[in-house]
Symmetry: C2
Subunit: 512 residues, 2 copies
């Protein structure tokens, strides 16, 4: 057995059976091993951020890691923005860049690069397997690291001679450590705080946004009057009927400080204390009152549901039903608006849909109008590296077979990873992309005006996406994705429903 074969058998033994791939020469023995050994679903991405973003989306829905296959340092670099977002989403990925043969590295061949150094900034664990005998054990460890709560990126660098040399051994799966249990002191401290203090916000993040944890948080809120919110960006929120109508910490600094100005006690549940996406002249970095008292109920890796249940029990909070979020929104007609689009999506989305939200400016107001939609999952960009939408939608569809994915996608962001539409077509994934075409970097135009000026010609050359306008129907068609254009709410609703009847992908160009 060569090293590459031991990699495949070890990954399979450890429960990894999807590999998002963009191979090159140095990975050919890995590709050959994947071909010879049955059991791994291999999905090609035509640019590496498709590969890494898909692995992110897969983890969010499948709750286990996929492998990636990348080509040397530059292939890793091309996928690093996707890994950055995945790291911020706390997604587990077994990230496998191939590399130069160990003995060939000294010759500084063209593709030689600092693969290890680049990987460190996006990985919890990096290891280069220097011999074929190390590959199996390293792979088992990589899977263990990737599966360690809440999810981590483990980068296993595979020199081509470690791959092709005989002497590989299949390593048994290593035990996946359970999420650490809550700290009893933290539970008691938070329970006391909830009993004694006013103006308490429980800020929920990560696994605290799953249905079970929400139920416990709701018990606490009903018993104490504490308010619940979720972080500004969340990897996966379970929403809709039967779930809580949680609001996010707003993106815009002034809106966020306004929304949080009442907070005297901030309790973090798998969440980080909210800070601005960026620093701005004369505005604060932290979004909550500086004098607020902070308490950590659970760190990012701890079991949020257990902690919330322990607090609720400690408080003697009765079990309560989840709130009714009101009647399902109705179909909308007429001119496009963010609110109208959100209501339209809520009106027609299938039960258990997955929304991938890279709607950026247009989507900031979507949340309130979709609380009463059928139960669904909502996936957001946690790292701020734009272009996450198309790849994450791709991976989410593979990680949750049978569920409809609705990808709400701004045009500027879409262009970073537009190649992912091809993978959606090849894999015949049930993804409806709502492409929000405003032909500008709207978020930047807003930021530019905050700088205190109207953009002139040179600035518009960098902020405007028109001239030429991108034809999204042609773009999708060119990669095998059916598509149509509309500029009304009823048109969009009709196209959404048509797309839901299809088994493959569909793109709706929404001329907003």
């Amino acid at each position: 057995m060569n090293g590459a074969e031991s990699l495949v058998t070890t990954l399979l033994a450890s429960g990894v059976n999807v590999c998002f791939a963009n191979p090159g020469t140095s990975e050919m023995h890995f590709v050959a091993a994947l071909d010879r050994i049955p059991g791994m679903r291999c999905v090609l991405g035509l640019q590496e951020n498709i590969v890494t973003g898909a692995a992110d989306g897969y983890f969010r829905m499948a709750e286990k890691p996929a492998a990636t296959l990348l080509h040397c340092g530059p292939g890793l670099a091309n996928g690093m923005a996707g890994l950055h977002d995945a790291r911020r989403a706390r997604s587990g990925i077994v990230n496998i860049p191939g590399d130069m043969a160990t003995y060939h590295r000294q010759f500084d061949a063209p593709l030689t690069a600092d693969t290890d150094g680049w990987a460190r900034g996006v990985s919890a664990w990096v290891k280069t397997s220097m011999t074929s005998a190390e590959v199996g054990p390293d792979a088992a460890q990589a899977v263990q690291v990737a599966r360690t709560s809440p999810g981590q990126i483990a980068t296993l660098i595979l020199p081509s001679d470690s791959s092709w040399s005989e002497g590989g051994v299949t390593a048994p799966a290593l035990a996946v450590p359970a999420a650490p249990q809550p700290d009893p002191h933290a539970v008691q401290q938070v329970a006391r705080l909830l009993r004694e203090k006013k103006n308490v916000l429980l800020l929920l993040g990560g696994l605290a946004l799953r249905e079970g944890a929400q139920m416990q948080a709701h018990r606490i809120a009903m018993a104490t009057g504490a308010k619940l919110m979720c972080e500004g960006s969340n990897a996966r929120v379970q929403r809709g009927q039967g779930r809580l109508p949680l609001e996010r910490v707003p993106y815009v600094v002034d809106q966020a400080t306004e929304a949080l100005k009442w907070v005297e006690n901030l309790v973090l549940v798998n969440a980080k204390a909210p800070v601005g996406f960026f620093g701005y002249p004369g505005k604060p970095s932290i979004l909550y009152p500086a004098e607020a008292n902070l308490a950590v109920l659970t760190r990012l890796e701890q079991d949020a549901e257990a902690a919330l249940r322990a607090v609720a029990d400690e408080l003697g909070a009765p079990r309560v039903a989840m709130p009714n979020n009101g009647p399902r929104p109705e179909r909308q007609r007429g001119a496009l608006s963010p609110e109208g689009l959100a209501r339209s999506i809520a009106a027609v989305m299938p039960e258990d849909s997955i929304i991938v939200d890279e709607a950026v400016t247009y989507g900031r107001g979507f949340f309130p109008f979709t609380h009463a939609a059928p139960a669904h999952d909502w996936l957001m960009n946690c790292g701020g590296a734009i272009g996450f939408g198309i790849p994450v939608a791709t991976g989410a569809a593979i990680g949750a077979p049978g569920r409809r994915v609705i990808s709400a996608q701004a045009d500027g962001s879409a262009m970073y990873t537009v190649q992912g539409l091809w993978t959606q077509a090849r894999e015949k994934l049930p993804i409806t992309t709502i492409l929000l075409s405003n032909r500008k970097y709207q978020i930047l135009l807003g930021e530019y005006r905050n700088v205190g000026a109207n953009p002139g010609r040179t600035a518009m050359d960098m902020l405007d996406l028109g001239n030429p306008d991108i034809n999204w129907v042609q773009m999708a068609n060119s990669m095998g994705v059916e598509a149509a254009r509309t500029n009304t709410l009823e048109g969009c609703t009709d196209l959404m429903e048509q797309s839901f009847a299809r088994s493959g992908p569909f793109l709706i160009e929404l001329d907003i």
Copy 2:
């Protein structure tokens, strides 16, 4: 004057007047400064490898650096493959990622990343301007580093508060050091070697491939019988009538060792000793005979033309005319073939065309059939990070106004940076893209067969680009680029000539 304004005025004072840009929020004051201060041509790329690859192509033709504008660590990461290729091509770039405000970095906001660490692997110089007062002097130094022979990447990281704060100062341009003169000992050693030894190869790279250096190398070859070749990958070769019919070191290891097996004395002129792109089982890493004697006439940064002239003078070599490369190839008809396409391009290309060659497997044989074309420049991928073609063509067109760019582009590679077609359309650049559509990673299929097996279904899932086939005419049209498809040589020739009559870009989908 704020830091951003001092950056723009300093860049302009130092002769940098083109900025390839993909801005984000943290760069808005830089964008505003570019808007307020006239003189900088700002070119938007919709993904960062377009930005960095264009800066590479610009340098190759303009022989001076452009600036880039990137958004934080992930934006840098998205452009790192282009920077990797630029570094290997020895292109000078003033690479400017914006970043978090200095005081905001501690809060680990979503886009916080190891910008400095990532930049080091692709840069000769990295500096973060921690105050607005540092920005001007840092920018002047960055330009100086970028212009230092043969060309280097200088990364200036610009925190947003260094950008928006007052206290910026315009720094004067720093002197650009001339390329170091040749070492007289090396000149004498090489001259003696040429007089006394047989089977000498002068391997030319970098600036040794410009017309003037070629003339001196030709004197030496005519006087001594030494053979001349160029490296396997070259940033810019001046070719065609009036230039030498140089052959490249072949890409395939067996072909390269065969081509170099006669070499007893290898003289490096701005070149590196040839090594394989990759290590392969049982094949050598170095491509020349292990017992060959190596001599370095010039290091990569030295003045090759001066050194070659000094050697020729030392040898008393007479001045000689450049060879006649034979009659210009004629138009071809019938079925497509690499040879036929190369002859067709040679038959119709305008004088002073720029060929950007990312034809990969299909293009390996193009060289011999284009020696007798009109004078032109040939630009290759020096770093092996594929997807260099569309961006480098874009930058080359901006760096050499009035010249036709012919971009010979394989389909698989094109998909990594396809967004660059939009920039070609926006800037109305005279670029003819010959898109070689074989719907597979042909190079990898060859490599796979070398592994010793025919690819099965799983391997083909990762090596085949069909299912669905990409429609390149639609793809180009979607981004505002005119396009047409053909599968004959006469069809391609006709479309090339039509495209040469246009002022903007055109894409020919060649169904090979």
